[in-house]
């Protein structure tokens, strides 16, 4: 039985690989004291020369630049992103729209209440980007992910989550809190004294 040649609507659509987009897929893993994430970046064939030119010779430096284009905050506090590892595919794979750059990063999360909100923004190469962003179901049963919200192109992501048994504050935080209590007490005492004088 021979296959009958056919004419399709799009005859030259044999592309098996990404073409004119720079796919950037971020996956978060939320823990009590940290956020870990991996971003997988796949430049399409048509945008590869442009992306490659922006990568340059120093690949770690490129990864750091990617991180600078990201913004991650928890409960309104912007977190410092620390590069964990960078993996680059062979140049040939990238040229064919197949190669996937993998950047792993993490951020420490300050102690907080039981209801928390993570906000992530990705502005890297936004003119050619196709963004994906998701969170893994946490391994820690004390953490439960709730609502996820994104804008239309997934460049902005908001995740509400709860954590049971919020961590006790660090020594530094305890000192700051104690100092604030003392200042408040002293201020209150001064006000009361002024009242008495009146």
């Amino acid at each position: 039985m021979r296959l009958v040649p056919i004419v399709l609507v799009a005859t030259s659509s044999c592309w098996a690989h990404r073409l004119d987009e720079y796919l950037q897929a971020t996956m978060f893993s939320v823990a009590q004291d940290r956020i870990e994430a991996q971003i997988r970046l796949t430049p399409g064939v048509a945008v590869f020369p442009f992306v490659m030119a922006s990568i340059g010779e120093d690949r770690n430096a490129y990864a750091e630049r990617v991180l600078r284009d990201l913004s991650l905050s928890v409960d309104g506090v912007r977190l410092r992103l620390a590069l964990v590892s960078v993996k680059f595919p062979a140049l040939e794979e990238m040229r064919e729209g197949l190669g996937e750059i993998q950047i792993d990063f993490r951020a420490s999360v300050p102690a907080g209440g039981s209801n928390r909100t993570l906000v992530f923004e990705n502005h890297h190469q936004n003119a050619i980007a196709a963004y994906l962003v998701n969170s893994l179901v946490p391994r820690d049963p004390a953490i439960r992910l709730a609502a996820q919200r994104r804008n239309e192109n997934q460049s902005t992501y908001r995740l509400d989550y709860t954590q049971e048994g919020a961590r006790p504050m660090s020594g530094e935080a305890v000192l700051i809190a104690a100092a604030m209590v003392l200042v408040t007490a002293r201020f209150t005492k001064t006000l009361l004294a002024a009242d008495e004088r009146r």
Binding site: M1, L8, C14, E96
Partner: protein, 338 residues
């Protein structure tokens, strides 16, 4: 008129089917595997077989053409007609009738793509690879891998269990004409999903339809064992008829494996249906008889299905990727570890 390879394949399938009456499904698959191996010379046998714990081979699958992501095992193109018939008879034995038909349609589609692209050597039915991990057995776990461009079947046989996860089915072109008939390898996956969406009321639709674009599979190749936070409409909010439609949609993947394994898998999925989610992103209409361009995901306690039209230089409705996973049991790790 049918050519020799087709007649031989049909004969082998008929012989296998007759033998099946007296055998368990696993016995039938083991028999077909041993029949295939017996047709190979020593060198071919070495090429086709791997240790069961060969993790590199287990994960050597992709949606991409084999020139881009090389596969191991024996390609159909390097087999004689007899060997090729035995290879396809093994694949047929491990799958349901409907599943095998789907696989043939995906392979035919790749041949159509080759011919449409001036005999592009990157595509075609010769470039599908078969490999066996472990020793075919009715008792101990072993694995059949079959795939190439737009197809990756990872079938773990463990006693009476037949586990098809993770597997990838895809199609380009997503519709074509073969011998005067229109073929849509993933047509049911599209049509049943649209039917389910259209059966939802406005409030359910609001929950199911995501307000953002999904550009690709989230849990495609190399994303084994990951479970993402589900989204969309939870099936606990569906009525009986809608749930039946969702199960029917899921069966397009769960029903690829042979019938008794598919029945066990569907029972497992049905048990978790209230905790299963349906999410949709993209246009809510499609031209009749064509695939749409919307992405959707079905996610349950032991299930992930994604359907992702690919905007890769052409009409996304003509190029579809799908993934089928069980994050709790990909590659049959649950029974294998017992």
């Amino acid at each position: 008129m049918m050519t020799c390879p087709r007649i031989r394949l049909l004969t082998l399938i008929c012989v296998a089917a007759a033998a099946a009456c007296a055998q368990s499904p696993t016995g039938r698959i083991v028999g077909a595997a041993n029949s295939f191996l017996s047709t190979l010379d020593a060198q071919q046998r070495q090429k086709a077989t791997f240790a069961y714990n060969d993790e590199a081979q287990r994960k050597r699958w992709s949606n991409l053409p084999v020139r881009m992501v090389p596969r191991a095992g024996l390609s159909m193109g390097e087999l004689s007609e007899r060997q090729r018939s035995a290879a396809m008879a093994l694949v047929a034995a491990a799958l349901s009738k409907r599943g095998f038909e789907k696989v043939q349609q995906i392979m035919d589609g790749d041949q159509v793509l080759k011919e449409n692209e001036k005999n592009n050597p990157m595509f075609g039915k010769d470039l599908f690879f078969l490999s066996i991990l472990g020793t075919p057995s009715e008792k101990d776990p072993w694995m059949i891998q079959f795939g190439g461009h737009h197809l990756a079947l990872n079938i773990t046989i463990a006693g009476s269990a037949g586990i098809l996860t993770p597997s990838l089915t895809a199609a380009q072109p997503a519709w074509y004409t073969l011998n005067g008939k229109t073929v849509r390898p993933l047509g049911q996956e599209n049509d049943k999903a649209f039917a389910l969406l259209n059966a939802l009321d406005e409030n359910q639709k609001k929950q199911a339809i995501l307000n953002y674009k999904v550009a690709d599979l989230v849990l495609g190749p190399r994303q084994d064992g990951k479970t993402i936070q589900p989204e969309g409409l939870k099936a606990s909010a569906l009525n009986d008829k809608q749930r039946a439609m969702l199960l029917d949609l899921i069966s397009e993947w769960a029903g690829i494996v042979h019938e008794s394994a598919a029945a066990a898998r569907m029972a497992e999925i049905k048990a978790g249906i209230a905790e299963t989610w349906f999410a949709w992103s993209g246009p809510t209409t499609a031209a009749p008889g064509k695939n749409g361009t919307a992405y959707y995901r079905v996610q349950g306690p032991a299930l992930v299905i994604e359907y992702a039209p690919q905007p890769l230089g052409g009409d996304p409705s003509l190029h579809i990727h799908t993934i089928y996973r069980d994050p709790t049991n990909d590659y049959g790790r649950k029974p294998a570890s017992k």
